[in-house]
């Protein structure tokens, strides 16, 4: 049974049809990569699935519930978390406080006016465990704005993990990284997401082929092909539309 099922999704932006009927599903523990040339509608699709704006028509089902118009905070509470392409953190707060914001939210400790989260040992221990995973333990008191780019990307992942989601939407997790950084980041994503279902948008084909169980190719608003990485690599339509362009 699929954890995420998107069917006949369309999106119009003032007359311009960006998505013209997108169908795909993600199984539990499955990693699906969505690839496609610039302007194919990947980011739009991502924003609809994560709740930034609603689709024009069609359906987004998460754990068998239609969530078309569910606001982001309620999606997060149901177990869907997203990371951002452009690092989107709490810049002036410390690494620990950033992760804490996710852990607090998961435990429902959002607006309590008496409890002090930093004095709660279990809470801090949960944060430290996440920082350990993403390799930021030594920087827990450092403000985000003083972190190197790669470290910010790692924290971005850590904050997302803090929600203990069942589905993670990763928006270009290695954008702007050097080759070495990309390799490290890919290994880390593989390690920390474990069996959590993921939808990944990514341009770097090495990353896609090493992370994804299945690949969907988005081309001018429709899914052109969807299947195992090897099949996609061999698919003539995909080569023509996309992969060929890159190699030439």
């Amino acid at each position: 049974m699929a954890i995420l099922r998107v069917s006949e999704l369309t999106k119009d932006f003032s007359g311009l049809r960006v998505l013209t009927g997108v169908d795909f599903e993600v199984g539990p523990q499955e990693k699906l990569a969505i690839i496609g040339p610039n302007g194919a509608g990947k980011t739009t699709l991502f924003n609809i699935v994560s709740g930034k704006f609603p689709p024009t028509s069609g359906q987004v089902r998460f754990k068998d519930e239609v969530i078309n118009s569910l606001p982001p905070h309620l999606r997060a509470r149901r177990g869907m978390a997203r990371s951002f392409q452009i690092t989107n953190l709490f810049q002036k707060l410390s690494v620990l406080e950033n992760v804490l914001s996710g852990v607090r939210s998961r435990l429902g400790l959002r607006h309590h006016m008496l409890r002090q989260p930093l004095r709660d040992r279990e809470l801090v221990a949960a944060c430290d465990a996440i920082l350990e995973k993403v390799g930021l333990s030594d920087l827990r008191e450092t403000p985000v704005q003083e972190l190197a780019y790669g470290q910010q990307r790692a924290l971005e992942l850590g904050v997302t993990l803090a929600l203990e989601p069942e589905l993670i939407l990763l928006d270009e997790p290695t954008a702007g990284m050097s080759r070495q950084e990309t390799e490290d980041a890919t290994a880390m994503i593989k390690r920390v997401t474990g069996h959590i279902a993921c939808v990944i948008i990514e341009h770097d084909m090495n990353v896609v082929f090493s992370l994804a169980d299945r690949i969907a190719v988005l081309h001018y608003g429709v899914i052109l092909a969807c299947g195992a990485p090897e099949d996609i690599r061999r698919d003539q339509r995909v080569k023509d539309a996309y992969l060929g362009e890159e190699e030439s």
Binding site: H73, N88, L89, S105, H111, R115, L163
Partner: protein, 326 residues
């Protein structure tokens, strides 16, 4: 180093508490009045800084909460026979809490300049109500209040007596200030910082930011109302000044003068403003001119306010100390 620090802090706190407790015996009554007023404005400014410094929301409407608290106290004391002072103040704080709920729920989706302008508009609306609803507020004449004596288990407090109102203010508003201080470390206090830093990410992490904003608005509104309530009690009088744009400007000046970056900044600013205003207004009627110039100089040359200046001096001393070590 780490073990000495809490000890010296404990000493400072102990001395401060002793000095505050002994103030009525040490200070002439006029000076005591100024200290009382300083405490009242401290709470007013601290509540404002929770919006400005912590949540990053620039409001030009804080006087509506202060004014509602101030007027409601006078109205309840005058209109409800036999009501106790504490009950009147509690109800008045509740009234400003409701105003926070009402105005806050209308301002949930606006930020930045529109937010600032709308709070200004709401403040003007409340001022206009104050002017027009003569039967309730006394209009331009204001309202006189004769606060009844307060019977506590151990004795009787007379709000018209300087030391009595001082102690009442010190205990109640001191507790409120301590609560605010602690508040910054609570879950809600942290969420307020998230609101300032990145509201969008907050939503994607499962926070209903409308709720966060509303709680903050209600909380800061109630605190400002409580401060306003004490303002009425201390003066035994309330005028439209309490709900005016001037009162909003005042809290803005105090907070900026003291510094928005730290918890104690606004407290420093409130006392500084109270004393400087008192001093200047004895010298000249044009004191707002000097205050304005002072404000401009501070914003231009010391954007961190008095607390920022203090912190700078402390840092420099520390550096000199470490440099002096071999």
């Amino acid at each position: 180093m780490t073990s000495q620090r809490p000890r010296s802090l404990a000493w400072i706190v102990a001395v401060a508490v002793a000095a505050l407790a002994a103030a009525p015996y040490l200070l002439p009554s006029y000076q005591l009045r100024l200290v009382t007023e300083g405490i009242i404005f401290s709470l007013y400014a601290v509540s404002y800084n929770l919006l400005l410094g912590h949540a990053g929301l620039l409001s030009f409407g804080h006087a509506m909460f202060f004014g509602v608290g101030a007027f409601a106290t006078a109205i309840f004391l005058n209109q409800i026979p036999g009501i106790s002072v504490l009950a009147a103040m509690g109800l008045a704080t509740g009234a400003s809490l409701l105003v926070g709920l009402l105005v806050g729920s209308l301002l949930l989706r606006v930020k930045g300049t529109p937010f600032a302008l709308l709070t200004l508009a709401f403040n003007s609306l409340f001022f206009a109500i104050g002017v027009k609803w003569h039967t309730l507020t006394g209009g331009d004449d204001g309202l006189n209040v004769i606060p009844p004596k307060l019977h506590l288990g151990l004795g009787v407090l007379d709000p018209r007596n300087g030391p009595d109102i001082y102690y009442l203010t010190l205990v109640v508003l001191g507790a409120a200030l301590l609560f605010c201080w602690r508040f910054t470390a609570t879950a809600m206090g942290h969420s307020v910082l998230l609101l300032r830093e990145n509201e969008e990410r907050m939503r994607f992490l499962g926070y209903n930011t409308s709720i966060t904003r509303l709680i903050l608005f209600v909380f800061t509104g109630a605190l400002a109302g409580l401060a306003g309530s004490f303002y009425t009690l201390q003066n035994a009088f309330v005028s439209l000044d309490a709900v005016s744009i001037d009162m909003t400007t005042k809290v803005l000046l105090m907070t900026f003068l003291g510094g928005t970056g730290s918890f104690l900044g606004p407290v420093l600013g409130a006392f500084f403003y109270t004393y400087v205003q008192d001093y200047l207004s004895n010298l000249t009627d044009n004191w707002p001119l000097i205050m304005g110039a002072l404000f401009i100089v501070m914003v231009l040359f010391a954007p961190g306010g008095l607390s920022g200046l203090g912190q700078g001096v402390v840092n420099r001393l520390k550096r000199a100390k470490t440099a002096a070590r071999p």
